[in-house]
Structure formats: C-alpha cells, structure tokens
C-alpha cells in the first residue's frame, strides 16, 4: 500500500519537474536565439505576452480544471492587476529608481489587488452554480472593464488622486502627472517587463499550483469538484476552499496582467474584455481541462498561431476559427481520435524503424 502511494507521488513529482524543465529549456533556447539574433522581431515581441498568457491559462486552469467552475471573466482580474501594476510602477518612478525592483513591486501589488478583487467577486459568485456562475463571472468582468474605462488616476507631490469623471477633477498640483485617463488607458508606461521575469513568474505559478494540487486543500478542492454534496457531508468547508482557489487564481491573473501591461507603452481597458477571457478559456480547454502542461503548450502555440498564419493575411482569423472548431470536433469524436492515434502510432513505428 505504502509502496503504491510512494510510486504515485514520485510520478507526480516527476511530472512537475518535467513542467519546470520545459519552461527552463524554452527560456534558455529563446535567450540563446535572441542573443544570436536569429529570432524574428515579431516573435521576439511576443515572448512576454506569451509568458503572461501562459500564467493566465495556468491560473484559469486552477478554477476551471481543479475547482471545476466555469469562469468567463478572467480578463477582469488581469485588468485589475495590469492597471494596479502600472500605477505602482509609474508612481514609484522617482522613489525606486531600480527598474527590476519596481517591476517586482508592481507584480506583487498587482497580484494583491487582483486577489482582493477575486475575494470580493468570489463571495457572491461562489454561491451560484453552473451556468449561473459563468454568467456572473462574465458580468463581473464587464463591470471591472466598464469602471476602469472611466477611472482617472493621477499622481503629484501629495500622493495619488482618483476620479471617475475626467482628468480635470483630479485637481493635480503643477508637476503632477496623469497615470490613467479613462478610456484612453495608461499612456507613456516605462517598459519594465523582461522575458526573465516572465519565465520566473511562470515557474512560481507552476510551483504554487502543482503543490496545491497535491496538498490537503488541493484534495479538498478536487473533492468539492467531484461531488460537492459528499464533500460537504465529510465536513469540508466548501466555500472556504472554493474561495481559496478562486482568489489565488485571480491573484495570479493579476500578476500576469501587470507583466503584460508593463511590456507596452500604452494599455487600454478595452484590451481586457470578454474576448480576452474567452481566448484564455480556449487555451485551457484545448490544452485539456486540469492539465497544466497542456495549458502551457496551448497558450504558447495559440498566441503564436496568428503570427504563423500571417501568410494567409486577411484569412488568418478565419483559418484560426476553423482550426479551433476542427480541433474541438476531432478531439471529442471517438472515431476520429482512434484514427488520429493510429496514424500517430504508425508514424512513430516508421520513424523508429528508420532510426534503427
């Protein structure tokens, strides 16, 4: 018995280390490619967004895959983290001159703010179930986008000023600057994000989720997903664990948002709308619900895919849509899957024979 348990544990640990290995390998490969200059400029610009989308997909997988709740408003938390991160980074520009430390501060405070938003959203949301929960997360995402769309933030010698009306009502002292200006978003952001920071963030998030899954709270969360009533009867505090998964997922999304925003010089609230939430859900579902490695691969591939489809030009989003539908139809069809598996097996056998 103990032998079996030990073996299972070691398999999970191996799996976890493979995931860390993949990220580190990719980081090193892309660093080398970058330093030798073989990396195309369009792909190079995509590195940090890919990192942040991977973190988004991983964190959403915690909610959808491990906690079993469909969330359609994940971009809302990304947006909270992004703008909080921008405010932190911009307002500390003078007191903390070191860019990297400022980035870390922005990521941490962005994550905290998004985590708080996650708790506030989670308390009402998690009382609902199924499609109702999905629609309320969607509604929260839209509310966050809408409020940020009319939020004005400025900084001067006295500190931060907030307004929901316009730039003038911030009453900034001379020498103060506006950080957020409503629908225009954040302008003139100093680019702080680095590929290194992105890779480290992915590793941290992976570390957190993989350890959570194999811990007591993680097993409780999975038990609630599999049968809420049975879990409740066993004395598991359902709301506490659901909220834990939801809020930590929101916090990770916030860090991803801060990383994303500090990679550009301007960010608008409209960027983090319903379509972005859906995009991340697509990563999670295509990668396999509950499968972390799948999320990483799907997020990276699907972020690059529109770039790879560049030769189709105008048709590329159309092709993207068709690819998406085809993948869903094939992976959910037993007959097609057996054909694909058969083809894969035949291909491997052939390559092995040739290698011999």
């Amino acid at each position: 018995m103990s032998d079996i348990k030990k073996k299972k544990h070691s398999k999970q640990t191996v799996n976890a280390f493979i995931n860390y290995g993949i990220i580190i390998c990719f980081f090193i490969i892309f660093q080398i490619l970058d330093s030798t200059g073989t990396l195309g400029s369009s792909l190079k610009g995509q590195l940090i967004p890919i990192c942040s989308y991977i973190v988004m997909a991983l964190s959403l997988n915690l909610v959808v895959g491990i906690s079993g709740e469909l969330s359609l408003g994940h971009a809302g938390f990304m947006s909270v983290g992004a703008f909080t991160g921008v405010i932190v980074a911009q307002s500390l520009a003078e007191s903390v001159p070191n860019g990297f430390i400022r980035l870390i501060l922005a990521l941490i405070i962005g994550a905290l703010a998004a985590g708080i938003a996650g708790v506030l959203t989670g308390i009402p949301v998690l009382r609902l179930r199924g499609d109702y929960l999905a629609i309320v997360t969607l509604a929260f995402g839209e509310i966050i986008k809408n409020v940020l769309n009319c939020l004005y933030v400025g900084v001067d010698a006295k500190g931060l000023h907030f307004s929901l009306k316009d730039e003038v009502s911030l009453h900034l002292e001379p020498g103060g600057k506006t950080i957020l200006s409503g629908p225009m978003g954040a302008l003139g952001i100093t680019k702080l994000s680095t590929f290194f920071a992105g890779a480290v963030l992915i590793l941290l998030v992976l570390f957190y989720i993989q350890n959570l899954v194999n811990s007591r709270p993680g097993r409780a969360i999975a038990a609630i997903r599999d049968n809420r009533i049975a879990a409740e009867a066993c004395g598991i505090p359902v709301t506490k664990y659901k909220l834990m998964a939801f809020a930590s997922s929101a916090a990770m999304a916030g860090a991803a948002g801060a990383l994303y925003a500090l990679n550009y010089s301007t960010v608008v609230p409209k960027k983090f709308d319903f379509n972005t939430s859906i995009l991340i859900l697509v990563f999670v579902v295509l990668g396999g619900i509950g499968n972390l490695r799948g999320s990483i691969i799907a997020a990276a591939l699907l972020t690059v895919l529109p770039e790879l489809l560049r030769e189709f030009q105008d048709y590329r989003m159309l092709v993207y849509a068709i690819v998406l539908i085809m993948v869903m139809l094939i992976t959910n069809n037993e007959k097609a899957m057996t054909t694909v598996r058969g083809m894969m097996d035949a291909f491997w056998k052939k390559t092995r024979k040739e290698a011999k």
Binding site: V64, L70, P124, R127, L128, R129, D131, Y132, A134, I135, V136, L138, A139, F140, E142, I143, N146, V147, N149, C150, L164, G182, P183, I229, F274, I278, L281, V282, V285, L286, I289, D314, Y315, M317, L318, Y320, A321, I322, L324, I325, M328, L329, T331, N332, N333
Partner: protein, 289 residues
C-alpha cells in the same frame, strides 16, 4: 420620463427577442450558443444587402434575412454542434465560440470593417401623444416582440411540434422513446432561434443604424444576460428579463452615467441572481443527493 420608459421598453424588446433564441436553444440543447449574437449581425447584413445593393422593398428583404438566418442556424447546428451532442458542455461552448469567430471574420472579409449605414426600413410617421413623441421604430419593435411572444407561446403549447420541443427539453431519452425525432426537434429549435435573431438584427439596426461585423457581439452578451436574468430556459422569463434589462439600461444612461450604464446593468443582474439564484421566473431545481 415616459419617453425614457418607452425607449427602454423598445430596446428591451430587441433584447427579449434575442434572449428568446438563447433561452430556447439552452432549454432544449443545454448549451450556451455564443454564436447567436453573430447570427443577429448576419441578419442585419442580409437586410442591408437586399435593400441597399439590390433595391428590394422592406418586407421581402426582412423575409429574405429571416430565411438566410434560419438556413444558417440549421447548417451551424448540423456541422458544428450535432457531432458534439454527447461531449462535455465546455467542448460545445468552445465550438460555439469558434463558430462566433468564424462568422465575425467571414463578415469582415465580405463586408470589411467599415461601418455600414443601415437604411431605414420602417418609414412610418412618428406617433405624437400630447408632448411625447414616440418613434415608429419603437412602436414596430414593441409590436413585433409582442406578436412573437404570443406566437411562440401558442406554438409551444398548442402544436405537435411545440409539444415535442417541450418534451425534448424536459427529458431527451423519454421523448425519444415516445417516438419524437430528437435531432429534428433540436434542428428546428435552432432554426426558430436563428430566424428570431434575424428579426432582432433588423430591429436593432433600425434603432441604431450602424452595421459592423462586431455589431452582434455586445447585444448578444446582454441578451444572454437577460435570458439568465429572467431564468434561462423559460420563454416568459426571457421576455421579462429582456424588457427589464432594456429599461434599466436606458434609465441608468439617462440618470446616472452613460459610461457606467453597462456596469449598472450587470450589477443589477448579480444582485438578482444572489437573491434568486435561478433568475426571476426560473424553475427551482431540487437538489438530488
């Protein structure tokens, strides 16, 4: 005040017609058809093409738009959703999103992203009562939604096909045992929903006459919200939810803030769902242990 109310009911009627499509499809296929909003957009473009390019009069062009959308609904159901009948609801959801992307981008290729000025289909004089002026578009919209509502209620309660639809949404397996063709019934539901989407598209574009490939997206989300608001799966619920949502939106725009109106609409939805988790007219699901 009264004119805001009428505007609200008129906008709400459009939401209600779209929400009916969502709710019927959800009731029968237990899926969130995210492509529904884009069918509205296609309906709008069809009416636009037939009037502006081919010079058709209003009534035939609306009928043409309904026809095209109905066929489109059946094709989408056959190609994309039918193979996934046994799959998880998330898989179906992602496929629906794929279809939505497909329709938006196809429209982008055919009609480009430039907004098209939608021709006025409803050329009737505005109604003036005292010092209140009610636009003819609002009257036609409200009248259309009432007619649709009555027709749908009669259809589902009196006709054989309507009864079959209700039976399938109640219990698919039992309905099949009773000799109901489940696949045909689901196809028909999609056809009716898409036809309604075409009408909603024409009405929406008559009230807000700019047509873009993304025109359907936001009304789609809001109508979906309306369907949940009223209790998803319930036809009167969709109607009530749609109209209430429209009124709340117009009043929020008029009295609180134009920019925050969407946030207020969604906040009301959240409060309603917290108080009554199955929506206003939703059936209470007993919990099985």
């Amino acid at each position: 005040m009264l004119s805001y109310l009428i505007n609200g009911i008129s906008l709400g009627s459009v939401y209600a017609i779209i929400a009916l499509g969502y709710t019927m499809v959800y009731g029968i296929a237990k899926m969130l058809n995210f492509a529904h909003g884009d069918v509205i957009m296609i309906g709008g473009y069809m009416a636009f093409c037939s009037t502006s390019y081919w010079g058709w009069p209003a009534v035939p062009s609306v009928l043409f738009s309904i026809f095209v959308c109905t066929i489109l609904g059946i094709i989408i159901e056959r190609l994309a959703y039918k193979p996934l009948r046994e799959a998880s609801s998330l898989a179906v959801l992602i496929t629906a999103i794929g279809v939505s992307y497909f329709l938006q981008n196809a429209a982008l290729l055919i009609w480009s992203s430039n907004p098209k000025a939608f021709p006025s289909m409803i050329n009737l004089p505005n109604l003036v009562i005292g010092d209140i002026q009610i636009s003819s578009v609002a009257i036609v919209t409200i009248a259309a939604s009432i007619i649709i509502m009555i027709a749908l209620t009669l259809f589902t309660s009196k006709t054989r096909l309507g009864k079959a639809m209700r039976a399938v949404s109640e219990d698919k397996g039992a309905a099949q045992l009773m000799g109901i063709n489940v696949n045909a019934t689901i196809s028909m539901t999609f056809a009716i929903g898409s036809g309604l989407a075409a009408i909603a598209g024409v009405l929406l574009c008559s009230a807000y006459p700019t047509l873009m490939p993304t025109t359907g997206a936001m009304p789609g989300i809001k109508a979906f919200t309306a369907a949940v608001f009223g209790g998803i799966g319930s036809i009167p619920g969709a109607m009530l939810g749609g109209i209430l949502l429209g009124i709340i939106e117009i009043f929020a725009k008029a009295y609180i803030s134009t920019q925050l109106s969407d946030a207020i609409v969604f906040a009301v939805l959240i409060i309603v769902l917290i108080v009554k988790p199955t929506g206003l007219l939703g059936k209470k699901m007993p919990e099985k242990v």
